[in-house]
């Protein structure tokens, strides 16, 4: 298995699908000649030409709406949001059109559209450019929402997303673009709606997705030094959501900590905690803990940004609380 970066894995998934299916086209700001602000699409315009790698004006509502029309007409557009923060300008198109056209048309019209881009923080882009939107998009029926954490998953889930008949919100962990991992060659789709057990354990279940997953693995390693065996679950698919894997794990460990960069109230963590109490109430030995981002717009200063997001120490501390090892 080749080792590649998250960024390269993502690019190779799009390139392979463009090779396979000529209806796949890319749209976005500076994705062609410039190679993409984050170099995700670097070189693709040379390989596929400007008709399939389309540089757009700085007008998210416009090009997202155009892509929805292209999808309705039979193409499979992949739209880059330079960052997901800019999708607020396209939210009307995404929520009011992309998510609802299949429903409005009684299934006569599909919108096989992928909207992708970096999500979340951790790279000092300050408050307006630092949002974690998985709960926001995860809220709307009609959208599929994924948040892969590894190069293997980002490739497999992008292949799946492009082939999916419905609009997919593809939330990349921007801070992980440079991380490396083994990636399966070729056509290795990763199905949606199936969480991944990133590390097996018996004492406590740590749950997250995206950028927090590697951090949870570090926390689990640290806990192992104290003889605590944490299980780490990577949700990776926000909608559809895989409750079973989480519930099964909690039935084994009797305790859970949900970790997220986003704010605590009305968050993915809230949903996970609710599902656990609904389906594993009689297995819980402690209340579910949530470790979340600080309740402020994201700070720019590096020290404050680090302080505002979940850390290994916070996760270990929460895990020890649900284990009744600290108050």
């Amino acid at each position: 298995m080749p080792v590649m970066t998250y960024r390269d894995a993502l690019r190779s998934a799009m390139a392979e699908e463009m090779e396979r299916d000529e209806s796949v086209v890319l749209l976005g700001e500076d994705i062609g000649i410039y190679g993409g602000t984050h170099l995700v699409t670097n070189g693709l315009i040379d390989q596929f030409g400007p008709k399939r790698v389309i540089d757009t004006p700085i007008a998210e509502g416009g090009f997202t709406g155009a892509a929805i029309g292209m999808a309705m007409a039979g193409l499979r557009p992949v739209v880059e949001m330079m960052t997901w923060n800019f999708s607020f300008l396209a939210a009307d198109q995404i929520i009011q059109n992309a998510a609802k056209l299949r429903y409005f048309s009684g299934g006569q019209v599909n919108v096989p559209l992928v909207i992708r881009g970096p999500n979340g923080g951790g790279v000092q882009l300050s408050a307006q450019h630092t949002h974690s939107l998985e709960n926001f998009y995860g809220h709307f029926p009609g959208l599929k929402v994924v948040s892969p954490a590894t190069p293997a998953d980002v490739k497999g889930m992008m292949i799946r997303a492009i082939r999916d008949p419905d609009p997919v919100i593809f939330l990349e962990a921007g801070a992980l673009y440079g991380t490396k991992g083994e990636v399966l060659d070729g056509d290795a789709e990763v199905e949606f709606g199936k969480a991944r057990v990133a590390r097996e354990g018996t004492d406590v279940t740590l749950v997250s997705y995206g950028r927090q997953v590697p951090m949870l693995l570090r926390a689990a390693d640290q806990m192992a030094d104290d003889g605590l065996n944490a299980e780490v679950i990577d949700i990776r698919s926000i909608r559809p959501f895989d409750s079973d894997t989480i519930v099964e794990s909690v039935r084994k460990t009797h305790r859970a900590v949900v970790v997220q960069e986003q704010w605590r109230l009305f968050s993915v963590g809230s949903e996970v905690a609710a599902i656990i109490q609904e389906r594993a109430f009689d297995d819980l030995d402690a209340p579910v803990e949530r470790v979340s981002g600080a309740e402020v717009p994201a700070p720019y200063a590096r020290n404050l940004e680090i302080a505002a997001f979940p850390s290994v120490d916070q996760v270990v501390s929460a895990a020890r609380r649900v284990l009744y090892l600290e108050a």
Partner: protein, 440 residues
């Protein structure tokens, strides 16, 4: 100086009653000497000295109910006789707090256990062992949902378990020693008896039930049996299947066997034939030779058949171990011996704790048929009626023939009707072809 403790004489034993001191303070004792008579829930036993010396102190009075592991006496040198005892003597009426405290096993063993159980990280706090239940009467017991479920599944009385979580919440680590059997569980129902008995009130408030007759002293064995039978009948979905057995061949076989055995050969009874027939049927139908514990079924390899015996004050059911492997003669001798000793309280715990299938036989009392209550954790019990001369059709004519009704009570969680019917057919087959009992 050595403490003499209330010994644990069987898995289910939580406490024993010190009936009578057989030695007095100051007496010289040798290892193996009987110091006192103690009564467990079913038998009376002698408490033996574990070493030589003098009985320097007795720590409990006669009649006291003492949790297992608690000191009852001290053996020391002659000089130590009569010196102040290290622990206060406990009078019977002061025992009411003891059961709760007694659940706290000595810290050393609990610590070892929690170190061994590294997979249970919550125990690492190590506090649970030292904690004493600190809850006011009627105070709500706080426990995690997991603990509540485990308590229900294992019948543990949470009011007797100390909680080490926030606000005194009982957490998994607190209850695991009881679940694993490392500590004896404060059984929900078991607490009723000592608490009731240990709350003497000079003028008891009259209740609706009182004042209607004279209260009868219930022997401990009757209370124990009553509790177990209530739990069984209330908790187990019983159902019943009856079969009619032609006993003509069995009676002829028995007559012949006893004639050849002679006077001192130990006469084979109808009950012995039934025990052997049931044991062989269990071997053919291992699905009946199971136990049901904590929502799970367990296959039992050995076929150990309990026989319910009426004794003074109650009921006891010692078992014939490996009954399918034993000859009729062995079964006959063993059951006679068990019966004889059961009636004088001379059974050991090993002889009546356990068993995989029970037979209750009222045949000697001229009953047509009856249904019995399952002896948990077993999943079935066989009730035997009398052999009666009954009109039967033979060669087209109505003639008298000996018949016996047998009724199996089964736990529907473990056994379905067809399984029970197949088992009864098997019992019937052996009894109606008694040569198979002798040859198998």
């Amino acid at each position: 100086m050595a403490e003499v403790i209330m010994p644990k004489m069987g898995d289910a034993m939580e406490e024993g009653t010190l009936l009578k001191w057989l030695k007095a303070v100051g007496d010289e004792v040798a290892e193996g000497d009987a110091l006192a008579e103690i009564e467990t829930d079913k038998v009376t036993l002698e408490l033996e000295a574990q070493e030589d010396g003098f009985l320097t102190n007795t720590l409990v009075e006669e009649g006291a109910v003492v949790p297992i592991g608690e000191s009852v006496a001290i053996i020391g040198t002659q000089d130590e006789v009569g010196q102040s005892a290290p622990a206060p003597a406990v009078a019977p009426e002061e025992r009411q707090e003891a059961p709760a405290e007694a659940e706290q096993v000595p810290a050393s063993s609990a610590d070892e256990a929690s170190e061994a159980a590294a997979a249970q990280p919550a125990e690492k706090s190590g506090e649970s062992a030292q904690q004493v239940v600190d809850r006011k009467p009627g105070e709500r017991v706080r426990a995690s949902p997991l603990v509540k479920r485990l308590a229900q599944e294992h019948g543990i009385d949470l009011s007797q378990v100390a909680g080490t979580g926030p606000g005194g919440r009982i957490i998994n680590g607190d209850i695991q020693p009881y679940v694993s059997g490392e500590k004896s569980a404060p059984q929900a129902a078991a607490q009723e008896t000592p608490v009731e008995a240990a709350t003497p009130s000079p003028s008891p408030a009259p209740s609706a039930a009182e004042g209607k007759g004279v209260k009868v002293d219930m022997p401990k064995i009757k209370r124990t049996t009553g509790k177990r039978m209530s739990e069984s009948k209330l908790g187990i979905p019983h159902y019943y299947v009856t079969s009619d057995v032609d006993m003509e061949a069995a009676l002829a076989f028995r007559k012949e066997a006893n004639a050849s055995l002679g006077e001192d050969g130990g006469r084979v009874s109808v009950n012995d034939l039934v025990v052997k027939a049931a044991a062989l049927a269990l071997r053919d139908n291992p699905n009946v030779n199971r136990t049901f514990v904590g929502g799970e079924l367990y296959q039992q390899e050995s076929i150990d058949v309990n026989i319910a015996i009426a004794i003074d004050g109650g009921l006891i059911a010692p078992f014939v171990p490996g009954a399918d492997q034993k000859s009729l003669g062995e079964i006959s001798r063993l059951t006679k011996d068990l019966g004889k000793r059961a009636r004088v309280g001379g059974l050991t715990l090993e002889e009546y704790q356990g068993g995989t299938f029970t037979i209750s036989n009222l045949g000697m009392f001229d009953v047509d048929e009856f249904i019995a209550v399952i002896n948990p954790p077993q999943v079935a019990i066989l009730a035997i009626g009398s052999v009666q001369e009954t009109p039967v059709v033979k060669n087209g004519e109505v003639v008298a023939g000996p018949r016996m009704k047998i009724t199996l009570s089964a736990d529907h969680r473990a056994l379905d009707g067809a399984e029970v019917a197949t088992f009864l057919q098997s019992v019937k087959k052996y009894l109606e072809n008694p040569m198979m009992l002798a040859l198998s």
